[in-house]
């Protein structure tokens, strides 16, 4: 996966987000924005519990979901909180389909958008099976390069970089550092996977209902997440896909079909000449 970096390659790092200790304080959301200078994107009160950020996007790279569960009788109440983030997939569709090489796999095994390269073709947006990456429509900051065709909005796509710059400086990502309860844990992916297993065993022993790991399996549809989770309910309850698959897994097949269709097209045209010009 990191062969191309040779000696430059580092141990693959990621996040383990343990939602069983998330207190929903949103420090991660703010820490991320403060560090990465992600713009504030609108004061919208949703009425969806305490969540007024709604979803991950170009201007929200960490998003805390709030789910109120249970029947009125008090002891049954449950309030799920979970900090969502880009999954930094082992097989990342956004990365595969990016036509400019703006999206790359870094020496840390993370997936980042290079803001100096992205030309806003938007292909990565529908490619992501989690709906993470998105185009930023806010006004652009830098001066137009080619005045005639330059647009006023930023127009590039953005998402969590797992604080690529901080990693290069040997610092942990901003959200993980801020998290008051260590719900967001950062580290070498292998360690995190072990930690998660142990955590799950502990919770299941205490029969914390619904505890399960999500995205820790290297054999899943995206080859495992670089940022995986411990959830207390089904993934879709948190707005996550139950069985995400990287679309490019089927690409060879698609190319084959395309080749056949191409042949068919030529044949079809040729066939049209049977019987001469009239």
């Amino acid at each position: 996966m990191l062969d191309s970096y040779g000696t430059e390659a580092k141990e693959r790092v990621g996040f383990f987000t343990d939602t069983s200790v998330c207190i929903g304080c949103k420090a991660c959301e703010v820490a991320c924005k403060e560090w990465n200078l992600v713009p504030e994107d609108g004061l919208v009160w949703t009425g969806e519990s305490y969540d007024n950020t709604s979803e991950l996007g170009a201007n929200t790279w960490r998003h805390v979901a709030f789910i109120e569960q249970g029947e009125p009788e008090v002891d049954a109440l449950r309030w799920l909180m979970s900090s969502d983030v880009c999954k930094h997939c082992t097989h990342a569709a956004c990365l595969d389909v990016c036509p400019t090489g703006s999206l790359i796999r870094t020496e840390y095994g993370t997936v980042v958008v290079q803001e100096d390269i992205c030309n806003g073709c938007g292909y990565c947006v529908p490619a992501c099976p989690f709906g993470v990456i998105d185009k930023r429509h806010l006004p652009r900051q830098d001066p137009p390069a080619l005045p005639l065709i330059t647009k006023k909005e930023d127009g590039r796509v953005w998402k969590c970089t797992l604080c690529y710059d901080r990693l290069k400086g040997g610092h942990e990502p901003a959200c993980a550092k801020a998290c008051p309860t260590d719900s967001i844990q950062f580290g070498p992916l292998d360690d995190l996977r072990e930690r998660a297993e142990r955590r799950l065993e502990k919770l299941q022993a205490q029969n914390a209902n619904g505890a399960r790991l999500y995205g820790n399996d290297p054999d899943d549809g995206v080859g495992g997440f670089g940022a995986f989770f411990l959830l207390l309910d089904e993934p879709e309850v948190y707005g996550l896909p139950p069985d995400p698959v990287v679309t490019t897994r089927d690409l060879p097949g698609m190319w084959r079909t395309a080749a056949i269709a191409t042949g068919a097209l030529i044949a079809g045209v040729a066939a049209a000449f049977v019987g001469g010009s009239r």
Binding site: S49, E55, I67, E68, Q69, G70, R78, V97, C98, P99, T100, G101, I117, C118, N119, G120, C121, G122, Y123, V125, P126, A127, G131, I133, K135, A145, I149, T150, D154, N209, G210, D233, E234, E236, V237, G239, L240, P241, P242, D243, P244, T247, T248, D250, L251, G253, M254, T257, A258, A261, T262, L265, I266, G268, V269, A272, F273, G275, G276, S277
Partner: protein
Amino acid sequence: MSSYYGRPVLKEPVWQREIPWYFFTGGLGGASSVLSLVARVSGNELLAQRSIQIASAADAVSPLLLLSDLGRPERFLNMLRVFKVTSPMSVGSWILAYTSAASSVSAFLNTIGRFKRTADLARLASAGSGAPLAVYTATLISDTAIPVWHEARHELPFLFGSSAIASAGAASTIVVPPSDAGPARRMAIGGAIVENVVMKAMEKRLGMLGEPYRQGEAGNYAKLAKACSLGGAALIGLGGRRSRIAAAAGGTLLLAGEAALRWSVFKAGFQSARDPKYTVTPQRERAGYGPPSRTRPDSAEASM
């Protein structure tokens, strides 16, 4: 099927109206290049010349459409920064660049009527890349997480291909006198028929995921496409031989139908991304989950 306050799991594509039009011009251009080559080989000079002109015109418009859809148009050259087989758009960009160069050279020389050999080489080249150009856009959208696109990956290339044939045929039918437009007419009619058959088959196979193709805007475009394509084909078939008017009218109608078809597919993608059930339900079935282990919270439902 539940999701987080009924919000989509996926992001809708951010592509704008240029893209479906590009699907159309790409198909038209690509198939026209092929048509031109075959016409040349079969000695139909007029058809060959007009169709290569159509091709070069379409291939000239296509890049502009793509460029104007970019968030950072001034960075359009970054498309040729890398060559990635994993990215249909990357591959397509190279093909498009190559095809439009070839077709324009060929068309230019054809028009001024000199350097015939070079012109033919260029025509050969553009035809070689034109065919994939007409089809790859289907692969491009299939290679996404959008349920109705990805799951339709087996049919879409044929749908787009036949649509391209129909478009190219229709376009030439308009500009070439009936006397020389026989092959174009047959392409138009054949393409239209095949395309409608493929569409039907696709929807059938997709089952639940076929819904978006029939509903909302996508559904309307689909109906329009069907009416225009079959109507146009019929008109060409019945009157195209004799009447130049009928040919032109039929061709135009058919072209409109092909454009509508691309729009229909385009919109269906957005609709399926918007409704989480198209994402969640198939995945739950695939993963072999039973019904949700916990029932959804009343409060959350209430606040949806």
